[in-house]
């Protein structure tokens, strides 16, 4: 049997994202795949009443936005790598520039702009319709996991 074509084995976020966002924390939050490019992926986090950060405003809490940017970052890294391999978040920074529109979906778009032997660098925005007018802006670093993943951070 011949080895599979590269096109079959290359990481495809369109096929992988629904699988990776269907379960556990990402599944509970309800993330959806939106679109991607060679080094970026955009996910959607629909508004939901139990994810708001304040009782009196229908705006998503900031915690779910971190989860959204973390998952979008992972997908962007695998997309740029062209393969799925274990990675762990080393650190993540999110600046909250403004509140999202009430009851609006928040979209998380992450770009992997650099991969070294052991680290991957990402930046991105969260927005409620226009990426040029972000609700949050993210920068982070992920580590590739080579051995003994149990001792490494992230998740």
């Amino acid at each position: 049997m011949p080895p599979p074509e590269p096109a079959d084995t290359a990481f495809d976020p369109v096929r992988a994202a629904p699988f990776l966002t269907a379960r556990s924390h990402n599944g509970w939050l309800g993330m959806l795949y939106r679109e991607h490019g060679a080094d970026w992926v955009e996910l959607e986090l629909p508004w939901r009443s139990d994810l708001v950060g304040e009782d009196d405003r229908a705006v998503l809490a900031s915690g779910p936005i971190v989860s959204l940017m973390d998952m979008a970052s992972g997908l962007a890294i695998w997309t740029r790598m062209g393969s799925f391999q274990p990675i762990a978040t080393l650190d993540l920074r999110v600046d909250y520039t403004r509140a999202a529109a009430p009851r609006a979906s928040v979209f998380g778009r992450a770009t992997c702009y650099r991969i070294t032997r052991s680290a991957a660098f990402v930046h991105g925005v969260a927005h409620d319709g226009d990426p040029a007018d972000p609700v949050a802006r993210m920068q982070g670093v992920f580590m590739t996991i080579k051995v003994n993943p149990g001792i490494l951070p992230g998740g």
Partner: protein, 130 residues
């Protein structure tokens, strides 16, 4: 102490204890906070860290008699070790509480408070009513 946000309630965060002035928050492991199989999701850890920060800051503002609203400026999270399928705790410290902003340092741990699995630095806008 004021109740937590709808998001914190839904995630399963509870108030474990008050350690001096700082509330200790608790998050039990469940499928809803799981990332890789058997590992606590970094986003859930971030939510726990932020919740501990806001709870402490809200209390401090009340204590100072300030009816101020809190608006997030930013959050920088360090992931120091994998979160196991155990209960996770978090406690914040106010580094600076100014007229317009507050700076907080927060740590999350599982079995040993001296070995954090994650830490966060938060800046929060403190907005007094007009």
């Amino acid at each position: 102490m004021a109740r937590l946000t709808p998001y914190a309630d839904a995630l399963g965060i509870t108030v474990e204890a008050a350690d001096g002035d700082a509330p200790v928050m608790r998050l039990d492991f469940s499928d809803g906070v799981q990332g890789r199989p058997g590992v606590l999701h970094g986003g859930a850890i971030s939510g726990l860290l932020e919740t501990a920060g806001y709870a402490l800051l809200r209390g401090a503002l009340v204590q100072e008699g300030r009816a101020a609203a809190m608006k997030p400026i930013n959050l920088t999270v360090q992931f120091l070790a994998s979160g196991k399928p155990h209960p996770t705790f978090a406690k914040a410290r106010i580094v600076k509480l100014g007229r317009r902003t507050a700076n907080l340092s927060v740590e999350a741990w599982q079995d040993d408070p001296s070995r954090p699995i994650a830490s966060a630095v938060m800046n929060v806008m403190v907005v007094e009513p007009e």
